[in-house]
Amino acid sequence: MANYDFDAIVIGSGISGGWAAKELTEKGLKVLLLERGRSISPADYVGEHKPAWQFPFRQLGDRKRYERDYPVQSTCYAFGEPTEQFWVKDSEHPYGQDPARPFRWIRGFHLGGKSLMWGRTTPRWGPINFEENKRDGHGVDWPIRYEDIRPWYDHVEEFIGVSGQTEYDSPFAPVGRFQPGMLMNACETFVADSIRKKFPGRRLTIAPSAILTKPLHGRQPCHYCGPCERGCSTGSFFSSISSTLPAARATGNLTTITDSVVVGLDYDPKSRKVAGVRVVDRNTRAGKRYSGRLVFLNAATLASTQILLNSTSETFPNGIGNRSGVLGHYLMDHPYLTVSAVIPGMLDKYTIGNRPAGVWMPRFHNVEGQTAPFLRGFSYEASASRANWTDGVSMPGYGAALKQRLREYGPWTFGFYGFLECLPYRDNTLTLDPVRKDQWGMPILNTRFEWGKNERALAKQLVSDAAEMLKSAGATDISLPPDELPPGGFGIHEVGTARMGRDPATSFLNGHNQSHEVANLFVTDGSCMPSVAAQNPSLTFMALTARAANYAVEQMKAGAV
């Protein structure tokens, strides 16, 4: 039997990698966690609670430096002067975009990855989401059903702490093991009631969110400062740093090596396994190789795919385990579309505190079979707030009268941020550039992404439904998004390029996130998903990770891996 450096190697420390490290170490395995970026601790949350006047550019950021170093990252809603340390410099991490079919690759290379800046909305997927590929023939059938993942949703929710409402059990957001939900504000409650009266099937509720309302494992409930992406010293929202990595460390079984860029996996045709993980030191460029009985790839969809494509051998000239040829195809994301308006009234009400959970409305089209003229559907995130001084720029006048006007709260504004399910298309692809390499010797990843006809039909419906619902609440000044859909990537829900499936000829992974071809290789980040649903994906790939880790350890103990 071969001698391994570790029982398991986990590549990537973000949302799914942190989960793999926690589950595997807790099951007694000696785990090496590889992170390509620097280490992070709560001391790095330098923007937390910092008011505008304490930033050199009053939170506008150094625009010229951003244009030079962060042309893609700075388009992310959470990027800014208080958070810029959590994003990669595009100037140092090039990738390719098809000019006519662009894809915005949003990245954070540091311990904890994008779990530090993520949106924290964590609906479960419902039974229909796992059946729909089979129903309408787009994409391969999910090799699992809701009942297979349900106990793992329970497991994940209980550990990360999800707050949410439990009264309305939507087929597209089943009620889970929730802490008490945060509260909807006066305007959101009014809009929800108005919509429900006119559209009985449409329910606006507080979003299930990975933010605590009760203490959990030494983490404190939310203190309502608002912008979680600046970092949270009380560990109130789920990140690898606040939650999974401390648990993994506590087992004594975790070795974490940061600043180690994984460039490839070595395949051993005799054992049909990954024999080694090749890394390059981020700073010194020194190469090194580690071996593990199990390998969990959790670098996030694009980077995991890049590593797999770059792991070539005689057996797998197109990327390790890629006998099917699906690796790098079927990239998906969610386009977000904003419809906002002024809601008259309730001027005697305001909110104290900045609630970091949104409200949301689960999908309501094609619930009982295929009834709409388009496939699948969309969900909305939403929120309402009182307008403030930022409206002053568009108000006429100046002087004491303007100052007095801005001293008072403005009207309630309500925004729907709808996002729709994108179908898996073979031509939405990730490929390695044949020539260009990055400074660590890794071939540059080229992207090609476009929305299809169904996405455009959904977008139209999403916008008109939102406007209708706002009208039912008496809205004025309704503002619609541009007709053209935003480029892919902005949803930061990129998934699908190493998909699970039942048939090794049409999928990369089996129903346990295990490579069909390489027995000790598991991929459990978003790349494993054969569809993207119209829900936020992170909770689902956390649950898939825990499920896969459990299976892998069982297999290992049984001697099968």
Partner: protein, 201 residues
Amino acid sequence: MTPLPESLVPGRHSIDRRAFVQLAATFGLSLSLPGLAAKAPAEPLSPDELSLVGEVSELIIPTTDTGGALAAGVPDFVRMMLSDWFTTAERENFIAGMHEFSAGALEKYGKKFAELATSQKDQYFGELLSKAEGGESSPRTPFVVLMKRLTIFGYYTSELGATTELRQHIATAQYEPAAVVKPGDRADSGLTGARYWFDAG
């Protein structure tokens, strides 16, 4: 080819020339990036101009029962934005507009703006702003409009504006979803209220 931002110069990051061109195309970067190559002047405003900016900012947000734009340091904020944040074209537009504003005062009143009576300053500025806000078309954003944007932004993101003129709840521990506004309550300036893209063009 127009000058390149330094960090994108071929060779800096082991990227060859072809890679660079591809990279730039990739990001949809305009290679000229107007204003990035030219070094901003260390001091964009003369002492007289800085004092003009101060007077205009104080007209926009005056001292009342709380301090106004001057007390909040708006002129310094404007100076920083001009030298470090505005592009060359945006800065040149601002300066040209400021000169036009000064020349207009001289023409109308036969005196420099600084020497006008308070009521004349108010009248002159007010008429120009009202014209600009009344939709009179202009080939570029007028000085008075840029000053209004800069003053509002600079004032309400200052400590005085955010916490004395308005109030700021940063970490309340509790969330009150339907608190009642009492007479005299001031609006919350918001920890992230400033997170929008300032329009300097």
